[in-house]
Symmetry: C2
Subunit: 452 residues, 2 copies
């Protein structure tokens, strides 16, 4: 049976299986979901076994488990390591979801659920592609390993040491990952750059208690005033990051790079309409595509302090909080950037405010040369299924483990993503266009064949 027919015949079963997985709320950031992480890992291990993979192992870590499996019966052929993650982002604000995040629903040929596209849905394609080849042909054209983690959304604290320690076990000629995006329904893309990531928590305290704004108002520091003043100092009015030395290791764009990025033919007006935005906004002097793919950022992800309830509370809050992440490019080093931000915060701290900073994630930026043969083969597979040759892009997101894998395993990383830009990953109503579920299965199957 040809693969198109095979995947059509098994479509209903495959989607039912994926929905089962999506029902498990495997939110890595929230400790209350620890048991769900174990369930999600076990579910995957079972599916890998059923698919015909061998040496299926669930490695416990200090955090969430890593799932390993392999099928090494193609002597003389290259080895491909498939990476992905079974953890998902938190789901708040819940009230903005049209259907419950962990009750998957198909509407208009789109599968709605947290993790539908990032990354359970995309990772699932690899399991089913390998299963299909084994069922149809009894063997694989290449050697395959799976290394799947549950901490991608919290920047892989345990996969990094696992990788270093098991470099031999994980050794491969190429790493294959589906956790990036197409440019549009019929515009495949291969990502050749990912931004790095670093994050920090900021806490401002003033008095040792909340104070009455009548009795004390005007006389004592207010933690919220101090925080908003401090946070506002992090950017200039024209959208540049205002931290000393922040841009030092971010390479200036060459005319050639700008030309390549312009090939994306991005429609600013369409995005504004889609997101109901009056204006786009960011670092002055760069296009939208440049700003989101090839320039670094500093973003406030959360700010909170004082009264959030109904009505009014005349309080001067004693503490206020902010959560900050940066996206990094080029030779920007996460530790160096975190230190520069912390220095800025200490220098700009307003009168009467005490500052506490917790540095969190640290992930390096990643780049790969699109002229490598394996990337050209990936482009061939896309072209056969989608009928159009993919564009080589730079993605604004961060998968810090990608850079680590390339570095530790000394192998090229093929970022072959099947998501779409409007699929609300990390936001309410995350979904996966099932057209790319179907095409993804075929593309991966095709790609594995081209490698032998």
């Amino acid at each position: 049976m040809d693969y198109l027919s095979y995947f059509q015949d098994h479509r209903e079963t495959h989607l039912a299986e994926l929905k089962d997985w999506l029902r498990i709320p495997s939110i890595s950031a929230l400790s209350e979901h620890k048991p769900d992480m174990q369930r999600a890992a076990s579910w995957l291990a079972d599916k890998l076994t059923q698919a015909g993979l061998e040496h299926v192992e669930i490695h416990q870590t200090a955090g969430h488990p890593i799932v390993y499996a392999d099928h090494l019966h193609a002597p003389g052929q290259p080895t491909v390591l498939v990476y992905g993650h079974y953890d998902v982002q938190p789901v708040d604000p819940l009230n903005l979801w049209d259907s419950a995040p962990f009750e998957p629903e198909i509407r208009n040929n789109k599968l709605y659920a947290r993790g539908a596209t990032d990354d359970k849905g995309q990772l699932f394609l690899h399991v089913k592609a390998v299963e299909a080849i084994l069922k149809q042909e009894g063997k694989l054209p290449v050697n395959v390993k799976f290394c799947i983690e549950g901490e991608e959304e919290v920047t892989s604290p345990n996969l990094h040491p696992f990788l270093e320690k098991n470099a031999e076990k994980l050794a491969a000629d190429a790493v294959l990952i589906s956790d990036t995006e197409l440019l549009g329904p019929d515009k495949p893309a291969i990502c050749t750059g990912l931004r790095g990531l670093c994050s920090l928590d900021v806490k401002i305290t003033t008095a040792n208690t909340d104070l009455h704004s009548g009795t004390f108002g005007g006389g004592v520091p207010n933690a919220l005033h101090a925080l908003v003043e401090l946070l506002a100092s992090l950017h200039t009015a024209d959208g540049k990051v205002n931290v000393d030395g922040f841009y030092d290791d971010a390479p200036e764009l060459t005319p050639q790079m700008r030309q390549e990025l312009a090939r994306k033919e991005f429609d600013d007006e369409a995005l504004k309409r889609e997101l109901a935005l009056d204006d786009l906004f960011g670092e002055a002097g760069y296009t939208y595509v440049e700003r989101t793919g090839a320039r670094p950022t500093l973003e406030l992800n959360g700010v909170y302090g004082g009264f959030q309830g109904e009505g009014t509370k005349t309080v001067i809050p004693r503490e206020a909080h902010a959560k900050i992440t940066c996206r990094l490019v080029g030779r920007q080093n996460p530790q160096d950037i975190l230190d520069k931000i912390e220095r800025h915060l200490n220098t700009h701290k307003p009168t009467g405010a005490k500052l506490a900073v917790v540095q969190r994630e640290k992930g390096n930026p990643f780049t790969i040369d699109p002229s490598l043969p394996i990337l050209q083969k990936a482009a061939d597979a896309f072209e056969e299924v989608y009928g159009t040759r993919p564009v080589f892009t730079k993605d604004g997101g961060s998968i810090p483990i990608v850079e680590a894998m390339a570095r530790v395993l000394k192998a090229p990383v093929v970022l072959m993503g099947f998501g779409l830009p409007d699929e609300n990953l990390h936001a309410p109503n995350e979904h996966f266009h099932l057209e790319n579920f179907d095409k993804g299965l075929l593309t991966i199957t095709r790609f594995l064949h081209t490698l032998s």
Copy 2:
């Protein structure tokens, strides 16, 4: 029996009764406590009846009930209207309370509970003082009316119209209120000024959904960036409110006023130690006492948006919120100030941000001349019980209904408070020093006698 002995004999019973009242969580700002507001009003009505007052009525309103009672059997004598409130502030953050806010506890002769001093505890003194005189003497030296509301902490939306409509029923020669503070354990004070209050909610929205900070970061407006920039623009670095025309109707302090305020002999260093503050902070060019009593303020009471959970969420939030209150002095008009702030926010709104403002409370400032005979009589009563003549102060807090009562009833308002500045009103661990519970009963009893 003299009143000192009477109140000592009844102390245990009185405190047990007050604790019962404090157990009712009558938080006016939270709609879930609507039934508790009814219970708290009924409790008070019962006590007024037991005390010997007549025409005890619970007036239902669009919000929480108003309790009325009177005792009008002193022909030819003046009429005193006692005002107070049985509603309390919200209690969050709960984790900072040493004992539960609605389980009253006495520790070191202090009564701990939400409402212990603001205002159930102080209001209760008037009920018991009137009861004591009636029990001891069979009649009151003056005519007395009680008008007690349950919406003071949300700026009395229903008492204002009630007052206008019932001006004749409530007519009095003086209004008596205990909802302010002593300067210290042995430093009584009579408040001759209260700041006005106005409040507003600010909401910033950007995109129609939360966005992934990798995919979109650097390219689109972030509601939190817009909000902190906007909020930071409301003050200058030296603590002045940066809104056009904000200070227009706030009178400059004369050398005489500054001298009067300096009589308070406030110890800045002691306050810093007590609140564990590195520095005091506020409008440049004024002392702490001037800033908190005689100068207007703009305070952030709450700011929130984006992720507040454990760990990191790489999100660009679509909305962000702030809650703001101002304290007003002199001829500052709450509506005018709200309009000026709204104009400022609209003018300074960052690129790509949509702004929504909800104007809330509007209360005028209040002042009274300390040389009025009734204020001198109140000072006499304090002096007899405390052994020292009270200072005439200006309080930074707001009881907007005070200005309305003075205006509508054309009567002087005597602000005879028994709280202390460190009693954590509007904050965790609110309490009432019971020494002033005892002295308060005597002072009120004495004052009512001096009026006849």
